[in-house]
Symmetry: C2
Subunit: 145 residues, 2 copies
């Protein structure tokens, strides 16, 4: 079980934007270079984030992308669901009419628990929290050196 590149790249990209929040917009090529991601592929991922209302854009020279909201108002859950799609462990979560035997109900409860656990973590963390963590860990390394 692993996360898709889409989600990993997208998360790193939006974190770059979060760290630049309040400054001038960041360009695709700049983010792509910093994070070592394909230019054109990143373009598509950021388009997803944009249509989800998490990111806004400015076209033309000196244009680029920036966060649509303060980092403290963007939860990882929003980013995750935008990139990874809706969380649907089993068919019967979408179509309740599917679910023939009652054996499923026992397993279904587990998938429900799993979903809650995942969404719980992603709900509880904002981009601002991530930045704080990042800064703190950098300070730690400085103290050691």
């Amino acid at each position: 079980m692993k996360l898709s590149s889409r989600t990993r790249y997208g998360m790193r990209a939006i974190l770059e934007l979060a760290m630049e929040y309040g400054k001038s917009p960041l360009q695709i090529k700049s983010i792509a270079h910093r994070e070592d991601i394909s230019n054109k592929y990143l373009e598509q991922l950021i388009a997803m984030l944009k249509s989800a209302g998490l990111v806004r854009s400015v076209r033309g020279p000196r244009g680029g992308y920036s966060l649509a909201k303060p980092p403290a108002e963007i939860r990882l859950k929003d980013i995750f669901l935008t990139l990874e799609g809706p969380m649907v462990p089993a068919e019967c979560f979408e179509h309740s009419e599917y679910c023939p035997g009652c054996t499923d109900c026992a397993t279904r409860q587990i998938w429900q628990k799993l979903q809650n656990a995942i969404l719980g973590v992603l709900e509880s963390v904002t981009l601002a929290d991530l930045i704080d963590q990042s800064i703190r860990s950098k300070k730690m390394t400085n103290y050691h050196i």
Copy 2:
């Protein structure tokens, strides 16, 4: 984000075996029929569970499959990891030499949290727990009718 059929089918199949624990072995075709899963595909899934030591088999007429251990000693984590493969959110979890920028470290901590949350749930539940839940929910419906 959704679970693979492999995992969903496999979980339902081994739960069937768990409910039959102590009795004579269950055959592929029987499980496949009860759970409405392709015969041949299920065969492969059960082979995975067998090579993981969760299930044992008897060949020939009146043969079939049964749990290798009591239901209380099989955790969902074991089943899940067998079917879904190792939990590797990002490359740097396998190859720590990968991890160029420090931006990753912030996201990496999130993937770690996510992993812990998922494994935590799966670690805490055994097949015996699932059977208990299943029986209890059946009783509930009986009371209502």
